[in-house]
């Protein structure tokens, strides 16, 4: 146990360092954007949190499938951990967006494709966590949530595509967006570094949350044993 705690402290320290360096890079290493100025620097965390949230939600989807095919509780624990952590990153993404939009677009929010679909995705995963709380029995909770999680993940591209077809104002993709688009190489390097930092942070949070879920399960089992005696 103490050896595990030791690696955990080292790992946490490393993550803290990585996030600090990412912050430094976003503010001081990346060049200033010509028209938007300093506010553009929020982009490095805004985008990397969005990507990280997507990665976490994809992990929820994979754990849901894995749970239904193996019925091992571990996959359920991973699913709920990834959903919570993904939701946290998604919330950061949805809050940094308006902070950037107000000076640049002149408005806090607009019902554009990416904003709306991210918001709907956020609502779907809030629903996933809510559903978990309202299902008392552990086996049923894991099974029903896995089914819901798969439905929700299938819906995300449909939401995105429908709203994209409908109206869009968000800046077009600057990475892989075709000719005439693209990031300054230094900006790109900082963005990828920030993403790496966020992914590592996600791993740390995921690990902690997973251990918490495992401990909760252990406590529930002990309590059941105690009351059976």
């Amino acid at each position: 146990m103490s050896a595990r705690r030791g690696t955990s402290v080292v790992f946490t320290g490393l993550v803290g360092l990585l996030v600090a360096v990412a912050g430094y890079a976003a503010f001081f290493v990346a060049p200033e954007e010509r028209t938007m100025g300093a506010i553009q620097r929020i982009f490095y965390f805004h985008v990397s949190c969005a990507w990280t949230a997507m990665a976490a939600f994809f992990l929820v989807f994979l754990s849901n499938i894995a749970y239904l095919s193996t019925r091992r509780e571990k996959w359920d624990w991973l699913g709920v951990s990834a959903a919570e952590v993904g939701l946290a990153f998604c919330t950061v993404n949805l809050t940094t967006g308006p902070i950037w939009a107000k000076p640049v677009w002149g408005i806090w929010w607009t019902w554009d494709a990416r904003l709306t679909s991210t918001f709907v995705m956020w609502l779907l995963y809030v629903g996933y966590l809510l559903l978990r709380d309202l299902l008392p029995d552990a086996e049923r909770r894991a099974r029903i949530c896995a089914v819901f999680g798969i439905f929700a993940f299938l819906d995300v591209p449909l939401v995105y595509f429908s709203i994209r077809l409908w109206r869009t104002q968000h800046p077009q993709p600057v990475i892989g967006g075709g000719a005439g688009t693209g990031l300054d190489p230094a900006m790109r390097a900082v963005l990828y570094f920030c993403w790496l930092a966020m992914l590592v942070l996600m791993t740390l949070l995921l690990r902690q949350r997973y251990q918490l879920e495992a401990m909760r399960h252990e406590v529930a089992e002990l309590a059941a044993q105690k009351s059976a005696e």
Partner: protein
């Protein structure tokens, strides 16, 4: 018994159950009427405004109605644990879900067929020039709502606070159906009416994706 025939048996059972009392249909129709009346206070219902806002209003009313109406579909099987009995039948579990999807589809469609003319009269919207195409949009949109809604009714029936939970889970999921159906309806209510083909294809795509997902996940959903 083939899955389709078993599904039709379930469908018939649901239909007979509902037609004995008609309470679900009556309540849903009145609910949609209520929403249509209340919405008239939120904007100035002139002909142009109605044409602009009407399609969204109509589909919102249908979605809210569906999220309430779909709840008993599985919840009422719980009173006497009849779902367990249904599961004992030597048929594919999907037959049960499919039968219920068909029944809910029929109930929702019946509600819409009653309410669309009422909507047209109350909001001064011409539906006759594009009636056939409007019906096609209603069929596709309602099928999508029924498929996802019936599966989610099975989900929420197993949880606490289930009446409240179903709309919370279902409505965000149905956002794409809402947009596509509203866009199609808006095109058809314009003068001259025009059906946006890409949205119709999108509706078909949604229906196919969620029908396939329900088929694949049904086994886990109805496990006892």
């Amino acid at each position: 018994m083939s899955t389709l025939r078993a599904a039709l048996v379930i469908f018939e059972k649901e239909l007979r159950l509902e037609l004995r009392t008609r309470e679900l249909l009556n309540a849903t129709i009145i609910f949609v009427l209520l929403v249509l009346v209340l919405f008239s206070f939120s904007f100035d219902p002139t002909v142009e405004e109605s044409r602009r806002i009407g399609p969204g209003l109509l589909w919102m009313a249908f979605l809210f109605a569906a999220s309430l109406m779909l709840h008993p579909s599985f919840a009422r099987e719980q009173a006497n644990d009849t779902l367990a009995a249904l599961r004992l039948a030597p048929v594919e579990p999907f037959a049960i879900l499919f039968g219920k999807i068909l029944a809910n589809f029929a109930f929702l469609l019946a509600t819409e067929l009653v309410m669309v003319p009422v909507f047209a009269v109350l909001y001064n919207v011409a539906i006759l020039p594009a009636l056939g195409r409007l019906l096609a949009v209603m069929l596709l949109g309602t099928f999508g709502v029924s498929v996802a809604g019936t599966a989610f009714s099975a989900i929420s029936a197993q949880a606490r606070l289930r009446e409240l939970l179903l709309p919370l889970l279902l409505l965000p999921l149905l956002a794409p159906v809402l947009i596509a159906s509203v866009e199609c309806t808006a095109g058809l209510l314009a003068a001259p009416p025009e059906l946006p083909g890409e949205w119709l294809k999108f509706l078909i795509g949604f229906d196919v994706v969620f029908f396939a997902a329900s088929y694949l996940l049904c086994e886990y959903l109805l496990e006892e």
